[in-house]
């Protein structure tokens, strides 16, 4: 293959002549950055999976699963409760930002830990356990720190939907049709990715960031692409929309100084780990500690049965659910309201076990 210079000297210069040829060469002469080579694949042709992938179904699952906590937070209305709705909102927003359910896996069981507030001296952590079989059979449970108590759980079995946990000191469970309550869409990084390119594209186009594969690494026994994500303030007007108007002083600088590292499973495109940096320091992190892909999850896993002592609230639509939670909020604020019960119920929701 001839070099660029030789091409111009070739008789095939299409009659450009030396002056125009040199001019065109100069026009196309751009400074090439020192781009790091993407990590080498272990095999140029990864073996095909034996089962069919269902990208759209899994995308819906990604939407459903990641949005679980947003649904919970929206129903709360954001007011403080003994359970601390603000804390729940913070936790769920944090999980929603860092967790990703992939479009590539058909079923899985995952345990992940999120740490937050690392830059504020008020560190906290939560453990999230997810069982996913298909978009209509998903269960996600969140525990604070090392507690075994389910702070917030959501379970979908077909159109049967349960939202449960400890609310205002009482173990409650809201029950209603999944179709009516619905699921929001949380634009988490790599949500619904079906390929590395797809994941990179989603990361890059949402929030206007650049996403660059840095290397490969291993998390929870699985190989992952490590992707660096940086916001693009210089050319991305949408990023400024994050501030919804005039950005507070320092917000742009803060954003310029932020970045995220994502570890994305090479096979399923699940996010296995993420570290969020501000001014070079990790301020929150997410890490999958257990992952079983193609897990055999029996139907019982998704059939939540409220234990004895759990207050069940039946609703038929989202508005009813919000009203129900508003009532929970009011209980706390009304003098002489019901006493707060022990945060540890007599019987915890049975954690499903996978065979």
């Amino acid at each position: 293959m001839k070099s660029q210079t030789d091409a111009f000297r070739d008789k095939d210069n299409f009659g450009a002549g030396p002056e125009l040829a040199a001019g065109l060469e100069a026009v196309y002469r751009v400074t090439v950055p020192d781009l790091q080579m993407p990590p080498a694949v272990s095999s140029p042709n990864p073996p095909r999976r034996s089962h069919r992938l269902r990208p759209f179904a899994a995308l819906a699952a990604a939407v459903a699963g990641v949005a679980f906590f947003v649904i919970g937070s929206s129903l709360w209305g954001g007011r403080a409760t003994e359970v601390s709705a603000e804390t729940i909102l913070q936790r769920t927003a944090g999980v929603a930002k860092t967790n990703t359910l992939a479009a590539g896996a058909t079923s899985y069981h995952m345990v992940a830990e999120t740490r937050y507030g690392m830059d504020e001296g008020k560190q906290g952590s939560q453990t999230t356990e997810t069982w996913f079989r298909d978009p209509e059979h998903v269960r996600v449970e969140e525990h604070a720190g090392g507690s075994s108590t389910v702070d917030l759980g959501q379970s979908r079995d077909g159109d049967d939907f349960w939202l449960y946990g400890t609310f205002s000191g009482t173990n409650r469970a809201i029950h209603g049709p999944a179709g009516e309550l619905g699921f929001g869409i949380v634009p988490g990084p790599g949500t619904g990715g079906t390929s590395l390119q797809n994941v990179l594209t989603q990361i890059s186009s949402k929030g206007c960031s650049t996403a660059t594969v840095q290397r490969e690494d291993e998390v929870a026994g699985r190989t992952a692409y490590v992707i660096e994500v940086k916001p693009r303030w210089d050319s991305c007007a949408e990023t400024r929309g994050v501030c919804k108007g005039a950005c507070p002083e320092g917000a742009e600088k803060l954003s310029r100084d932020t970045s995220t590292l994502l570890w994305v499973d090479k096979e399923t495109f699940l996010t296995l780990r993420s570290d969020f940096f501000t001014e070079g320091r990790v301020v929150s992190s997410y890490l999958v500690t257990q992952l079983e892909v193609d897990a055999d999850l029996p139907s019982e896993v998704f059939r939540y049965q409220p234990p004895a002592g759990v207050q069940v609230i039946e609703v038929t639509n989202g508005a009813d659910a919000k009203r129900a939670f508003a009532g929970i909020e009011d209980e706390k604020s009304v003098p002489g309201g019901p006493p707060a019960q022990s945060s540890k119920p007599e019987s915890l929701p049975e954690k499903p076990t996978t065979p």
């Binding site: 660029q4 060469e25 196309y28 090439v32 080498a40 095999s43 390119q197 594209t201 650049t210």
Partner: protein, 196 residues
């Protein structure tokens, strides 16, 4: 084979289909050998996708995606069908078009890095004149319709022969040659005119 980068231009020595073939064979067995192909072709791919993307960041993204795809699909490359450079540039082209569809409605030519004018022994006045002429040429190229502009980019940014260009865009070598002759003839006519 040495890779040198100076004044924004990369030259690669020892380019030949046979050398590419050897590297491809090696890379199929040892993926890390793909690094040599990467070194050889990354600048060309980057220069080419720069003409199709909206920013240098996007060009870098598309370049990386191109090589990731190429690595994954390396075993499907058939030397008899097209040269490796044409095969690779075709992947780059598709990746750039995908990026374009996802992002902006039109390609911004003016996001290309600023013209790199090599300073030789010319006087300052000569350099200014040179810069002005290149600016005018750039404007002329920008006025060409996108399909024709792409042929120029494949030729002068990616350094492909007319046959290879045909393999990328899906045209015959003869058709590509004919079009390039016409494009350049038109450019020459306007470029050599004295500006008003």
């Amino acid at each position: 084979m040495a890779l040198s980068v100076e004044s924004g231009r990369s030259t690669v020595d020892s380019e030949s289909p046979a050398a590419d073939g050897a590297l491809i064979e090696a890379a199929l067995v040892r993926p890390e050998a793909f690094g040599l192909l990467y070194q050889r072709y990354m600048p060309r791919v980057y220069r080419y996708v720069s003409t199709l993307t909206a920013s240098s960041d996007e060009a870098a993204d598309v370049t990386q995606q191109t090589f990731i795809k190429a690595m994954s699909a390396l075993s499907t490359y058939r030397a008899g069908r097209a040269s490796f450079s044409a095969w690779l540039l075709r992947i780059a082209r598709n990746a750039a078009f995908d990026a374009h569809r996802r992002r902006r409605p039109s390609v911004r030519w003016d996001t290309l890095a600023g013209l790199v004018v090599e300073a030789g022994c010319e006087s300052p006045e000569a350099l200014v004149l040179k810069q002005e002429r290149l600016t005018r040429l750039r404007a002329l190229v920008q006025d060409i319709d996108p399909a024709k502009r792409e042929l120029l980019a494949l030729r002068f940014a990616a350094g492909l022969t007319s046959r290879e260009i045909g393999a990328v865009v899906g045209k015959s070598e003869g058709a590509v040659k004919k079009q390039l002759f016409r494009i350049i003839a038109s450019l020459k006519e306007h470029y050599l005119e004295e500006p008003n």
